[in-house]
C-alpha cells in the first residue's frame, strides 16, 4: 500500500473537444493522500478529475511535476509497474469472456502460476460476498450493470493493488443499485484499508466515500479538506455553491454602517460582524438551514414558489426568489400554507463574498461541537 503525492503536476492536451475548446488537463496540482486514506475528487464534468486519476494510474504522463508513491518517484513509470487497480464508469470488462476470466487476466498477463491464480480468485470471490461466484461463471455480456461493476471491482482487488482508483464507478447504475453498490464499495475500501481515489461528479457520493474531498475546477484543485471544512469554510464562492444540496443562496447586498441592505430590506448587523465586513457592495451566502423563520425585528419577505419535502427527514424546503436569485429555506413539515415567508439570515451561519470575483470575506467555520 502506498501514500500518493502529486507535486506541482501539470498536464496539457493539444486536442480539442467537439465544441472546439481545449481538453482540460491539470494546472499545477499538488495533493498528498495519506497511506490508507480514501479521497474523493469532485467537480463539474470536464474539470480534469479523470485526468488526475489517469496521471496517478500512469495512463497519462504529466508535462511537469512529479507523482510519488510512498516517496518513490513513479512519474515515468508505466501503468503496469505501479500496481494500481482501476474501476471504470463503463466497467471495461474484457468482452466475450466469462467473469472469472476477467479476474484471471492479470495472472495470465503476468504469467503467474495457475495455483496462485485460482487461490486469489477464490479468496476475492469470498470477500465479494454472497452469490459472487455465480457471476464468475457467466459471460460478462449477460451481466447487469451492477453485476458488471461488482466483477470490475473484484478484478481490481484480485491482485492486491497499492492504490485503488475509481472513475465514477456507480454513475451508470440506477438509483437503488447505486445506493447498494456505494455501500459495498465503502465496505471493501474499509476492509482493505487501501489508499483510494474516488472520482465523482456527485457531491453526496464524494462525501460518503472520501475521508477528505478535493474539489476541482478547470484543472485546478480549489479546495482539499474534510466535508465540514468544505461546507463551513469554503475557500471561495465556487466551492461554497458546489457543496450542499439545495445549493447555498447567494444574494447581492450592500453594507452601510451597521446595516446590510438586501433585497429591498435593511437588516441590522451585529457590531462585531459589521466591523469585519468591508463597506459597500458584497454578496451574502446563506444555506437553507441558515435562515431564521419569522424573526423578531427586520425581515425579508420570500414569496413561496413551492415547497418540497426532504424524504430523508421530517422537514421540507420552501423555494422562492429574492432579488432575482433562487432561495431555499429549511422549514418544518407542519409549516402552515402561506404565500410568503418572513425570513432573516442567521448571522452566525452566514457566508460573505466579495461583490466581484469569488473571494470569501467571512465564513462561519465548522461548528464547535464540544
Amino acid at each position: 500500500m502506498a501514500g500518493v503525492t502529486l507535486d506541482h503536476v501539470s498536464k496539457r492536451y493539444h486536442t480539442l473537444t467537439a465544441d472546439g475548446r481545449p481538453v482540460t488537463g491539470l494546472d499545477d496540482v499538488s495533493l498528498h493522500i495519506a497511506d490508507g486514506e480514501a479521497v474523493s475528487v469532485v467537480g463539474p464534468s470536464g474539470c480534469g478529475k479523470s485526468t488526475l486519476l489517469k496521471v496517478i494510474a500512469g495512463l497519462e504522463m504529466p508535462d511537469a511535476g512529479r507523482v510519488l508513491f510512498n516517496d518513490v518517484d513513479v512519474t515515468r513509470w508505466p501503468a503496469q509497474a505501479r500496481g494500481v487497480g482501476m474501476v471504470f464508469q463503463d466497467y471495461a470488462l474484457y468482452p466475450a469472456r466469462e467473469g472469472e476470466d476477467n479476474l484471471s487476466y492479470y495472472f495470465e498477463v503476468r504469467k503467474r502460476t495457475e495455483e496462485e491464480k485460482v487461490r486469489r480468485v477464490r479468496e476475492v470471490a469470498t470477500l465479494m460476498g454472497i452469490g459472487f461466484d455465480l457471476l464468475l461463471e457467466r459471460q460478462v455480456d449477460t451481466l447487469s450493470g451492477g453485476e458488471k461493476q461488482r466483477v470490475g471491482i473484484a478484478r481490481c482487488i484480485v491482485r492486491d493493488p497499492n492504490v485503488f482508483l475509481m472513475d465514477e464507478p456507480i454513475s451508470n447504475l440506477d438509483a437503488k443499485l447505486r445506493e447498494r453498490t456505494r455501500i459495498e464499495i465503502k465496505r471493501l475500501i474499509k476492509a482493505f484499508g487501501i489508499t483510494t481515489v474516488y472520482v465523482t461528479h456527485d457531491q453526496q457520493e464524494a462525501v460518503f466515500m472520501g475521508d477528505r474531498i478535493a474539489v476541482m475546477r478547470a484543472g485546478r484543485i480549489e479546495q482539499f479538506g474534510a466535508f465540514d471544512d468544505l461546507y463551513f469554510s469554503p475557500a471561495n464562492l465556487f466551492v461554497a455553491t458546489l457543496i450542499g444540496t439545495p445549493p447555498m443562496s447567494v444574494l447581492p447586498a450592500v453594507r452601510r454602517a451597521e446595516t446590510l441592505e438586501l433585497a429591498g430590506a435593511s437588516l441590522p448587523l451585529p457590531p462585531d460582524l459589521a466591523a469585519e465586513l468591508p463597506a459597500g457592495p458584497l454578496r451574502l451566502g446563506v444555506r437553507p438551514e441558515g435562515w431564521l423563520l419569522d424573526p423578531p425585528g427586520a425581515a425579508l419577505t420570500l414569496p413561496i414558489r413551492h415547497v418540497e419535502r426532504i424524504y430523508t427527514e421530517r422537514a421540507a424546503y420552501a423555494a422562492g426568489d429574492l432579488a432575482g436569485s433562487p432561495v431555499h429555506v429549511l422549514v418544518p413539515l407542519d409549516l402552515p400554507a402561506q404565500a410568503a415567508l418572513r425570513i432573516a439570515p442567521d448571522w452566525e451561519r452566514s457566508f460573505f463574498f466579495a461583490a466581484e470575483g469569488e473571494a470569501a470575506l467571512r465564513v462561519p467555520g465548522p461548528p464547535d461541537l464540544f
Binding site: 482501476m86 471504470f88 459471460q139
Partner: protein
C-alpha cells in the same frame, strides 16, 4: 444475420401487442393492417426482383429456354451437358481459387491495417477513413490497373526490372499468376477497412486502459479486446465477401477477358460467354448451379461460425 439483404422484418411489429395492454381490445385489427402496410412493399420488391426470377431461372434451366417459340421441357439435359463440359469445371476451379485467395489476402490484411492505423494520431485516422471512403469509379480504377500491369511500359514492370532488378514478368498473361495479380489491387482498396475502423473507434478507451494497468502487451490487447469487439462486423463482412467473390465478373472481365487460356475465367464470365452464344438454357442452368454452390458455402459458414453471444 440475414444472408439475402432486403428481407422485411416482420417480428418487430408483431412483438408490439404485448406491451399495449390497456387499449388492447381496439388495437389488433388496426395493428394487423398497419403491419401489412409496412411489410407489403418489401415483400413485393423481394418477390419480383428476388424470388420470382429465381423460381423462373430454376424452371428455365429445365427447358430449352428459347427466345421465342415453343418452350420445351428437357429435364436435366442442360445440367448433364454442363457437367460434361471441361470449361465449366475449370471456371469453377478458377472461381474457388479467386474467391479463396481473394478472401485470404483482402480480408485479413485490412483488419490488421485498420488496427495499426487506429494507433496513429487522430488526424491521420480521419484522412485514412476518408481515403477508404472515396468513391472510386470501378471502370477508371480498372483502366488504371491495366496500365499498371502493362508488360512493356507499366509501373509494376518498371519496379520489377529497374528497381528490383528482376527479369521481366508476364503479369496478366502468366497462367499461374494471373489470379494473384487480379486480386492484388483488392488488398489495397478493399472496402471493409472502413467498417473495421469505425467498429474499432466505438470501443471505449477505458477497455484498453484497464488492460494497460494490468500490463497487457499491444498484441494481447488486440487479441482480447479489439478482435472480440470486431467479431460481429468481421463475421458479417466475411459472409458478404464469400457471396460477392463467388460472383466476380466485371474486374477480371475488363482486365483479362478470362485469359490467358481461361486461366482467369470465373463462372459468371463463362456464363456470360454461353449467353452470348445464345445458349439460354445452359446459362440459366449454370447460374442455378452457382446459386446452389454459394448456398452450400453460406450454410457451412453459418454452421461453423455460431452466432456471437454478444453480437
Amino acid at each position: 444475420m440475414a444472408v439475402t439483404a432486403p428481407v422485411a422484418p416482420p417480428p418487430v411489429p408483431t412483438a408490439e401487442p404485448a406491451a399495449a395492454a390497456p387499449t388492447a381490445a381496439a388495437q389488433p385489427a388496426v395493428r394487423r393492417w398497419q403491419v401489412w402496410a409496412f411489410v407489403l412493399p418489401a415483400i413485393l420488391f423481394q418477390f419480383f426482383w428476388g424470388w420470382y426470377p429465381m423460381l423462373v431461372a430454376i424452371f428455365l434451366s429445365l427447358t430449352n429456354a428459347p427466345i421465342r417459340g415453343q418452350v420445351t421441357f428437357v429435364g436435366f439435359n442442360n445440367y448433364a451437358r454442363l457437367l460434361a463440359d471441361p470449361l465449366v469445371a475449370m471456371s469453377f476451379r478458377v472461381t474457388f481459387v479467386y474467391a479463396g485467395l481473394g478472401i485470404l489476402l483482402t480480408f485479413g490484411i485490412p483488419i490488421l491495417i485498420a488496427i495499426l492505423l487506429m494507433e496513429m494520431p487522430p488526424r491521420l485516422i480521419r484522412v485514412m477513413m476518408l481515403l477508404w471512403f472515396v468513391p472510386l469509379s470501378g471502370i477508371a480504377s480498372t483502366i488504371f490497373w491495366q496500365y499498371m500491369y502493362n508488360e512493356q511500359f507499366g509501373i509494376l514492370q518498371f519496379i520489377a526490372t529497374e528497381v528490383l532488378g528482376l527479369p521481366p514478368r508476364a503479369f496478366l498473361s502468366n497462367e499461374r499468376w494471373v489470379i494473384f495479380w487480379l486480386i492484388f489491387p483488392g488488398i489495397l482498396m478493399f472496402g471493409p477497412g472502413l467498417y473495421y475502423m469505425t467498429s474499432l473507434q466505438s470501443i471505449p478507451r477505458s477497455y484498453f486502459e484497464a488492460a494497460e494497468i494490468e500490463g497487457a502487451s499491444f498484441w494481447r490487447k488486440i487479441w482480447t479486446i479489439s478482435l472480440p469487439r470486431m467479431r460481429p462486423i468481421i463475421s458479417m463482412s466475411l459472409i458478404f465477401a464469400i457471396i460477392g467473390s463467388m460472383q466476380e465478373f466485371a474486374f477480371p472481365d475488363l482486365m483479362t477477358r478470362g485469359g490467358p487460356n481461361g486461366a482467369s475465367r470465373t463462372v459468371v464470365m463463362y456464363m456470360f460467354d454461353i449467353l452470348n452464344d445464345g445458349r439460354y438454357g445452359d446459362a440459366t442452368a449454370l447460374s442455378v448451379m452457382l446459386f446452389a454452390v454459394i448456398m452450400v458455402l453460406v450454410l457451412v459458414y453459418r454452421r461453423l461460425v455460431t452466432d456471437d453471444p454478444d453480437a
